[in-house]
Symmetry: C2
Subunit: 334 residues, 2 copies
């Protein structure tokens, strides 16, 4: 039986551990919190993130990273994007030699502007063909409710992607393989930023035409960033690009959309942050995504606007004006 360590007991880590257990793997979850680990192992529950959901009986958890990592064939990374590097440094030698690393994390590291798989190869000194990423339209609560979903598992080594696909394929969760790690990761990182913008538009009272235009132009700027970084443009038309973006922007469960909506209704960053219990990843990553874009000379007007609202206190009002009032032009033109 394949042994999988899921490092992180948040909303998505827990839901993906359920998929792994359903798929018949020996899955263990690491939580930094003793009580959460105990609740998962003894009560088959993680009430903070999945109230009312019964976890598979085979799933267990520990607060000891070395115990979780021992004998793991796959190490699944489900910690916050900005703590990944320090987590990896702390676990260091406990990560089994030869284990494959799988990032579920959507974000770009502040400062280095590194993608999560780059942080992994860099921090652990492993070869990129041992690092896979998983991304797609996978709202965690729906996955935990075993609603049907599809996703993308990407690795530069197609055999690793196929192996991982087999490890997490269930009757409800359908992974597709891909070799485009860069595109798969960027789709997941940028969509949180676009979801903030779509949320702002909704909060200001704009309708579905405006939101659909923001989604379309948002995906276009993601594709431009991807092109500069060597991603396959087709990835962005797929589940990890368009699919994830649409799910995030449509769902009332999306923290980023909800955060953006509150800003759009006129609340300040301080006010929204104060009433928000979980992190809206896009609030952090918009800055590093824009940093990445600037390093590669890519224009991302929506991302730039989101940064101006989040960091600079600009009113979201101008977002739609930015989108609408430039000179009439050709759709693909400059």
């Amino acid at each position: 039986v394949t042994r999988v360590a899921v490092m992180g007991a948040g909303s998505w880590g827990t839901a993906f551990a359920m998929v792994l257990a359903d798929a018949g793997t020996d899955a263990v979850v690491w939580s930094r919190d003793d009580k959460v680990a105990e609740s998962i192992t003894r009560e088959h529950a993680n009430p903070r993130f999945h109230p009312g959901v019964e976890l598979p009986a085979t799933l267990w958890a520990t607060a000891d990273p070395a115990e979780a990592l021992r004998g793991a064939d796959y190490v699944v990374l489900a910690v916050p994007s900005q703590t990944l590097r320090e987590n990896l440094a702390a676990w260091g030698d406990a990560v089994p030699a030869g284990a494959r690393l799988v990032s579920l994390i959507k974000g770009v590291e502040l400062g280095s502007a590194s993608r999560m798989s780059e942080v992994v190869t860099d921090a652990l000194g492993v070869s990129p063909d041992r690092v896979a990423v998983l991304s797609g339209p996978n709202l965690a609560r729906e996955i935990a409710a075993r609603e049907p979903a599809a996703s993308v598992v990407a690795c530069t080594d197609p055999q690793v992607a196929r192996d991982l696909q087999a490890v997490c394929h269930t009757a409800f969760f359908r992974p597709y393989t891909n070799t485009d790690v860069v595109g798969t990761e960027l789709g997941g990182a940028v969509k949180n930023v676009i979801a903030l913008a779509v949320g702002m538009a909704g909060g200001m009272g704009f309708g579905d035409n405006t939101k659909a235009s923001l989604i379309t132009r948002g995906l276009a700027e993601t594709v431009r960033l991807g092109a500069a970084l060597g991603a396959d443009p087709h990835t962005f038309s797929g589940l990890a690009g368009l699919g994830d973006l649409v799910a995030t922007c449509s769902s009332p469960l999306s923290r980023n959309r909800t955060f953006g909506e509150a800003l759009g209704r006129g609340m300040s960053m301080e006010e929204v942050t104060a009433i928000t219990t979980q992190t809206a990843e896009g609030v952090t990553s918009c800055v590093s995504v824009l940093d990445l874009a600037r390093r590669h000379g890519v224009e991302m007007p929506i991302t730039e606007h989101v940064v101006a609202v989040v960091e600079g206190g600009l009113a979201p009002r101008d977002l739609v004006r930015t989108l609408m009032t430039r000179e009439a032009k050709s759709e693909r033109g400059a």
Copy 2:
């Protein structure tokens, strides 16, 4: 002043006539119904389609097609897809020689499997470079409420597209030009079919992961059809492809989504049709879209499923199974 005849006083014809009047053209609407024409001219209202909306005072209407068409620089076609050919035959000589034709119609003709611009060139014997199409994320009620929206105007002659762009550009409505008529039309025709499928999934209780996957796979089958017909794949990533699809699938105002939802909740075609006042275009076009796909040897599994539900009385239940339970594979693989 440019003179524009909008042929059809339905929801979208009326809303687009408002855009034209706002843009400063001399716009006249033709309605086949005397009372509707009179209401538009005298009361600046079209209460059936836009209750509570005040139409621009410069907009007028007539029930006489020859009066509407007289001196028109642009003839905008906003009639149902399946009556376009007979409408054009009836108007015949009244269409001014040299006028440019603009199709707002989203559908494919039953029997011939022709796109709307093909019906126009065929029925009027005009050259394709005089025929433009307009399509995008443009829910008519939001346009009538002057919410910001963007759209695509496509013509094989780029100058015609630019001229049309100038004619309908307002502070709220931003048209982008494109020369890909085939892709622009197909995006609009197929999205109604996909919206039916997304509606069915919603009606059956599936969540946003499933709906986002259907949207993604639905756009992928539209791209395949477009490739077979010579469309530019980029068009489908833009406003007339992705944008229109997302707006239609997100909006409670979408007749196709709403129709699909009722089917998904278990109502029969007869029951849904009985309670539906306006046509859900996808119910008709799914058959002709599938016909078009088969003529070109293109697989469109979602469209095929929608046809089976609409025509064959199949339960929508299998739709998600079709999407989810095939063999695990690569995202772009066969």
